[in-house]
C-alpha cells in the first residue's frame, strides 16, 4: 500500500493528539512552513477514506470546547493508522537515503 501525501500529512498531524479539521490543516501548514495547505475538499475527502480504511477514528466526546462555540468533529489516529504511517514514512526515509546516495540532494 502506498498512501497519498495528504493522508500522510494528516496521520503525522494526528500522531501527537486529537485534532479537528481546521487544526489538522494549521498543523500541516506549520510543519511545512506554509508549503502544504490542505483545502477543505482535500482534507475531508481524505478523512472520509481514512475513516473507511480504519486509519483514524472520530471522537465521540469533544476534548476541548474552549476554542469557540461551534461544534467540531475531532479525529484521532488508530493503532492501525499509526502502524501504516510508520511503514510509509519508513519507505520514504529509505527512498530519501537512496536519493542522497545517488546525488539527489534536496535543496531547501
Amino acid at each position: 500500500m502506498s498512501a497519498p501525501l495528504p493522508v500522510l500529512h494528516i496521520l503525522v498531524a494526528l500522531a501527537d493528539g486529537e485534532r479537528h479539521g481546521y487544526a489538522i490543516m494549521q498543523d500541516v501548514v506549520a510543519r511545512t512552513d506554509g508549503g502544504v495547505r490542505l483545502g477543505p475538499g482535500t482534507l475531508y475527502g481524505s478523512i472520509k477514506r481514512m475513516l473507511h480504511d480504519g486509519l483514524i477514528e472520530e471522537l465521540d466526546e469533544r476534548p476541548d470546547s474552549d476554542d469557540d462555540d461551534v461544534r467540531r468533529r475531532y479525529y484521532r489516529i488508530t493503532p492501525r493508522g499509526r502502524r501504516i504511517a510508520k511503514e510509509e514514512i519508513g519507505h520514504l526515509a529509505t527512498l530519501v537515503r537512496h536519493a542522497r546516495a545517488a546525488g539527489l540532494v534536496p535543496t531547501r
Binding site: M25, T42, G45, K48
Partner: protein, 856 residues
C-alpha cells in the same frame, strides 16, 4: 464575510449530496476559520484549486459505487437484463445503420473540396415546363465567356467506349469532360495528369482512366500512364488516372476531353451537364441573378434561345432527389419510432420491477439514502443496461452496414458505399445514453418519489399513479405502432400498385443488351444501321428467337432517353406553334412486335424508311391525343424546331411506361434505317428462358465483329424490377419495423394487464367469492386492457393523419390518408390488443378465491 460564506456553501453543491451532508458543515467552518485568518485572495485561490481537484474525485467515487451496485443488480437478474440489453441492441443497431445511410447521403458533403460552392448550371424553359434541362455546348461556351460569379465552369458529356486490344473487348460508360472539370471539383488525378486547355481543340488523342477500371482491369499498374490503348478502334494515349469521385456523374470509367467544334454545334442540342464553382463569397442568389442577365442577353442575340433561361442548382439538389430524401427521412423516423416503443416497453418492465424492489428501495431510503442519490443510482443502472445494449447495437450496426453495402442495388444512392464514421459513432453513443436516461427516468423518478411508509407497510400496494403511468406507456407504444403500421400499409400498397401498373409492353421472355459499334468504323448514318440489320437477320435465324429489334432506349434501360420539343402544323387542340416536349427513340422495324407494344393504327416501320425516303414517325397514343385530340393522326406532320425537320405520322402505338413505373409520358419513334445512335439497346424475344440464349446471341454478335463487346446484359424483367427497387425497399423496411413495433406493443399491453391482474388478485378473488361469474371477470380485465389499447390506437390514427402529407411523394395509386388502410390497421391492432388481453383475462377468471384471500 457572510456573503463569502454563502458563496462557498453554493460551491459545496458541486459535491455529491452524501459527502456534502457528511462534511459540508465542517468544510464551511474550516473555510470560515481560514477566511478569518488569511488574505481573501489566497483563500479563494486555494478553494478554487481544491474544488477542481476534489469535486471530480468525490463524484467519480460515488459514480463507481453506483456502477458497482448496478453491475451487481444486473448479474442478479440475468434474464431480465438480457431482455433489456437485447431490445436496446436491436433498436440501436437498426437506428445506427439507418443513420449511417442518412449521414452518407444527406449530411456528409460530397467528396469534393468546398462542395457547397459547387452548382449545376442547367437550362430551363418555362413555356415547355422544363425546369432543369441539359445545356448545349455553344451555350456553355457563351456562359464561360460572360460569367463573373464563377471561378470556372466545366462541361460533362456522356458517351460510351469500346476498349479493345488488351484482353477481352469491353464496353464502358464514359464521359467527355472539359479540362477545367478537375479544378472545378477540386480533385487531383490519382496518377499522371488531367487534360490541358489545348486538348479541348479537336484532334488530341488522349484519355484518362477511372480509378475503378484502373484497379479492376490494369491492377493499378502505374505504367498505364503514357501507354497507348485502343478506344472505339482509335489509338489513344492514357495521360492520367481519374479519382473514383469523378464517376458521381455517370458511373464513368473512361474520360476524354470534351472537344469543342463550334461549327458542328447547335444551341438547342441540350446534351451536356455543366458544373460550376462559385467564387468565394458569391451566393447562389447572386449567381442566379447574373445568369438571368446573361440568359436575357443571349435570348436577344440568338432567336432560338427565346424561351430558354438558366437555372442554378446546388450539387445536393442535383444528386439527391427529393424523393430519395423523403424516403430516407421516413425510414429514419420509422426506425426511431421502433426505438421509442422499445424505450416505453423497457420503462414498463423497469416499473414492474420497481415494485419487486420496493422493499429494497424503502429500506435504503429509511437508512438515510437521499432521494437524489436513489434517483441517480437507478439512472446509473438503466444507463449501464443501455450501454451494454448499445455496444451490442454498434457491433450489430457494423454488420448491418456491411450487409447494406453488399446488397445495395446500383444507382439507388448517389454514392457507391456508405460508411460508419465519427458522426455515426457519436450518434450511436449519444442515442444509447439518451435511451438509458429515457427508459430509466419513469421508474427512477417514481421510486424516488414514493412514500417510504407506504412501501414498508404493504408489499404490493402500488399507487394509482404508477398504474396510470404504465397504462400511458402502453398506450403510447400502441400509438407509435399504429402510425408505423399505417405507413407500412400505404407503402406496401404503393409497391403492389407499381407491380400491377400496366407497362404497355410484355416484359417476360425478353433478353436485352447494349452494343456500341465504334462510329469510326460504323458511321451512324450508313454502316451502323446496316450492321444492325445484319445482326437482326442473324438473330432471327437462331432457333428459339421469336423476334428481335434494336432501340436507342428500351423502357427502364440505360439507353438514351432524349426529349425534344415538337410542334404540329394544321388543326390541333393546342394553340398554334406550341412546342411540346416529347420523348423520342430510334427503333428498328419489328420493335413494337418484339416488345409486344400494340400497333393501334397505320403501319410499322420497314427497311425502306431510309434516308432517301420522306421522313416518317410513329407516335404513341398519348402523343396523338396531345396534338390532335381524337382526330386521325395518320398523315399529320410534326415539326422539330431543333433541326427544322418535319416528320409524317405513319402509325400509332400504345403508350409505354419507360422511365418510372408511376408515370406514362408521350413518346415518338423514328425509323432506324436512316440513322442510329452510337449506343443502341438490342431486345430479343425468346420462347425459352431468355438467359439460355445468351451464348448463341453472343456468338452471332462476334461472327459479325469479334471486337464488339455485349454490355449490360439483362432480362427485361430485371430492368422493370430494378426500377421498383426503392419502393420495394421502403415497403419492406417499414414493414419489418412495423411488425417489430406491433410485437413489442402487444407485449407491452400484455405486460400491463398481467401486472394489473396480479395486483388485483385479491380483489378478483373477493369478487368471485361474492358470486361474480368467470365471464364477468374476463370482461372486467378486457375492458381495462382495451381501454388502454383504444386510446393508443386512436392517438396513432390522429398522428398518422397529421403526418400523412409527409409521405405523399412516396405513395402511388393510393391516398396518403386512405380511409380503408387507416380503418384496417385500427381493426387489426384492436384484434392484436384483444389477443394480448385474453391471456391475463383468462388467468384472472381462474383465480381461486380461497388461495387469493388467504394470501397476505
Amino acid at each position: 464575510m457572510p456573503r463569502a460564506d454563502r458563496l462557498y456553501r453554493v460551491l459545496l453543491r458541486l459535491y455529491p449530496a452524501e459527502f456534502r451532508g457528511e462534511y459540508g458543515r465542517e468544510m464551511t467552518q474550516m473555510f470560515r476559520d481560514r477566511a478569518r485568518h488569511e488574505p481573501p485572495l489566497r483563500v479563494w485561490l486555494d478553494v478554487a484549486r481544491d474544488l477542481i481537484v476534489t469535486v471530480p474525485r468525490e463524484q467519480a467515487h460515488v459514480l463507481m459505487n453506483d456502477l458497482r451496485y448496478a453491475l451487481r443488480t444486473i448479474r442478479r437478474t440475468p434474464a431480465f437484463s438480457a431482455a433489456v440489453m437485447l431490445t436496446v441492441a436491436l433498436a440501436i443497431a437498426a437506428n445506427t445503420a439507418m443513420f449511417t445511410v442518412v449521414n452518407a447521403v444527406l449530411l456528409r458533403p460530397l467528396p469534393f473540396a468546398d462542395s457547397h460552392r459547387l452548382v449545376q448550371v442547367a437550362e430551363k424553359n418555362d413555356r415547355l415546363n422544363l425546369p432543369n434541362f441539359g445545356a448545349s455546348v455553344l451555350n456553355f461556351v457563351s456562359w464561360r465567356e460572360e460569367t463573373r460569379a464563377f471561378d470556372q465552369l466545366a462541361a460533362i458529356g456522356f458517351t460510351s467506349f469500346n476498349l479493345s486490344g488488351a484482353g477481352e473487348p469491353e464496353q464502358f460508360v464514359g464521359n467527355r469532360i472539359s479540362p477545367a472539370l478537375l479544378n472545378v471539383l477540386g480533385i487531383a488525378p490519382v496518377a499522371g495528369r488531367g487534360f490541358t486547355d489545348a486538348e479541348e481543340k479537336p484532334g488530341a488523342a488522349v484519355a484518362m482512366i477511372g480509378e475503378r477500371l484502373w484497379t479492376r482491369r490494369f491492377g493499378r499498374d502505374p505504367s498505364l500512364v503514357g501507354r497507348v490503348i485502343t478506344l472505339n478502334s482509335t489509338p489513344v494515349t492514357v495521360v492520367g488516372i481519374a479519382p473514383a469521385a469523378l464517376n458521381l456523374f455517370s458511373g464513368g470509367d473512361i474520360y476524354v476531353p470534351l472537344t469543342i467544334d463550334r461549327a458542328k454545334e447547335i444551341r438547342l442540342n441540350h446534351v451536356i451537364f455543366v458544373a460550376g464553382r462559385l467564387k468565394p463569397g458569391v451566393t447562389l442568389q447572386q449567381a442566379q441573378a447574373e445568369c438571368d442577365t446573361i440568359a436575357a442577353g443571349m435570348a436577344r442575340t440568338y432567336p432560338e434561345m427565346r424561351d430558354w433561361g438558366i437555372h442554378l442548382l446546388t450539387f445536393f439538389e442535383t444528386f439527391v432527389t427529393p424523393q430519395l430524401e423523403t424516403a430516407l427521412l421516413v425510414l429514419l423516423a420509422a426506425v426511431g419510432f421502433v426505438l421509442l416503443i422499445a424505450c416505453a416497453n423497457i420503462a414498463n418492465l423497469l416499473l414492474a420491477r420497481a415494485t419487486a424492489r420496493q422493499k429494497e428501495i424503502a429500506v435504503r431510503t429509511a437508512l438515510g439514502a437521499s432521494r437524489i442519490r436513489l434517483l441517480r443510482q437507478l439512472l446509473v443502472e438503466s444507463v449501464t443496461l443501455s450501454v451494454f445494449g448499445g455496444l451490442g447495437g454498434i457491433i450489430g450496426a457494423v454488420w448491418a452496414v456491411r450487409a447494406i453495402n453488399a446488397s445495395l442495388p446500383p444507382n439507388l444512392l448517389p454514392i457507391p458505399e456508405v460508411h460508419i464514421d465519427a458522426t455515426v459513432l457519436a450518434f450511436a453513443v449519444g442515442l444509447t445514453l439518451v435511451t438509458g436516461v429515457v427508459f430509466g427516468m419513469a421508474p427512477a423518478s417514481y421510486a424516488a418519489k414514493a412514500d417510504v411508509n407506504e412501501m414498508l407497510k404493504s408489499s404490493r400496494g402500488a399507487g394509482p399513479g404508477r398504474g396510470r403511468l404504465r397504462r400511458g406507456l402502453a398506450a403510447a407504444e400502441l400509438a407509435l405502432a399504429t402510425v408505423l403500421l399505417i405507413g407500412a400499409g400505404l407503402l406496401v400498397q404503393t409497391f403492389l400498385n407499381l407491380q400491377g401498373a400496366r407497362l404497355g409492353f410484355e416484359s417476360s421472355g425478353l433478353l436485352t443488351f447494349q452494343l456500341a459499334p465504334p462510329p469510326a468504323r460504323y458511321p451512324v448514318n450508313d454502316k451502323a444501321p446496316l450492321f444492325y440489320r445484319a445482326l437482326l437477320d442473324a438473330l432471327l435465324a437462331v432457333p428459339g428467337v421469336r423476334s428481335a429489334a434494336v432501340s436507342s432506349g428500351i423502357p427502364f434501360g440505360q439507353g438514351n432517353y432524349t426529349t425534344s420539343p415538337f410542334m404540329t402544323v394544321g388543326p390541333s387542340p393546342l394553340p398554334p406553334d406550341t412546342p411540346v416536349p416529347i420523348d423520342w427513340r430510334i427503333v428498328s422495324p419489328g420493335y413494337f412486335r418484339t416488345m409486344a407494344i400494340p400497333l393501334l393504327r397505320g403501319r410499322d416501320f420497314s427497311d425502306r424508311d431510309d434516308a432517301t425516303m420522306p421522313l416518317v414517325t410513329i407516335v404513341s397514343q398519348a402523343t396523338a391525343k396531345k396534338f390532335w385530340g381524337d382526330a386521325d393522326p395518320i398523315g399529320r406532320t410534326l415539326h422539330r424546331p431543333a433541326d427544322s425537320r418535319t416528320y409524317t405520322v405513319v402509325g400509332v402505338v400504345g403508350d409505354v411506361r419507360s422511365t418510372t413505373l408511376n408515370q406514362e409520358s408521350p413518346a415518338l419513334y423514328y425509323p432506324m434505317a436512316s440513322r442510329v445512335w452510337p449506343l443502341m439497346d438490342v431486345a430479343v424475344r425468346t420462347d425459352a428462358p431468355p438467359a439460355t440464349l445468351l451464348p448463341v446471341v453472343r456468338q452471332k454478335v462476334h461472327e459479325l465483329d469479334a471486337e464488339l463487346p455485349l454490355a449490360t446484359v439483362r432480362t427485361m424483367e430485371e430492368w422493370v424490377s430494378s426500377s421498383a427497387t426503392q419502393p420495394r425497399l421502403s415497403a419492406a423496411l417499414v414493414g419489418v419495423f412495423a411488425s417489430v413495433a406491433v410485437l413489442i406493443a402487444a407485449i407491452g399491453i400484455y405486460g400491463v394487464l398481467a401486472y394489473s391482474v396480479n395486483q388485483r388478485t385479491r380483489e378478483i378473488g373477493l369478487r368471485i367469492a361474492l358470486g361474480a361469474r368467470a365471464d364477468g371477470v374476463v370482461r372486467l380485465v378486457v375492458k381495462e386492457g382495451m381501454g388502454v389499447a383504444l386510446v393508443g390506437i386512436g392517438a396513432g390514427v390522429v398522428t398518422a393523419v397529421a403526418l400523412g402529407q409527409g409521405i405523399s411523394s412516396l405513395v402511388y395509386g393510393i391516398a396518403p390518408r386512405d380511409p380503408l388502410t387507416f380503418a384496417g390497421v385500427a381493426a387489426l391492432l384492436s384484434l392484436v390488443a384483444l389477443a394480448a388481453c385474453s391471456v391475463p383475462a383468462r388467468r384472472a377468471s381462474r383465480v381461486d378465491p380461497i388461495v387469493a384471500l388467504r394470501e397476505e
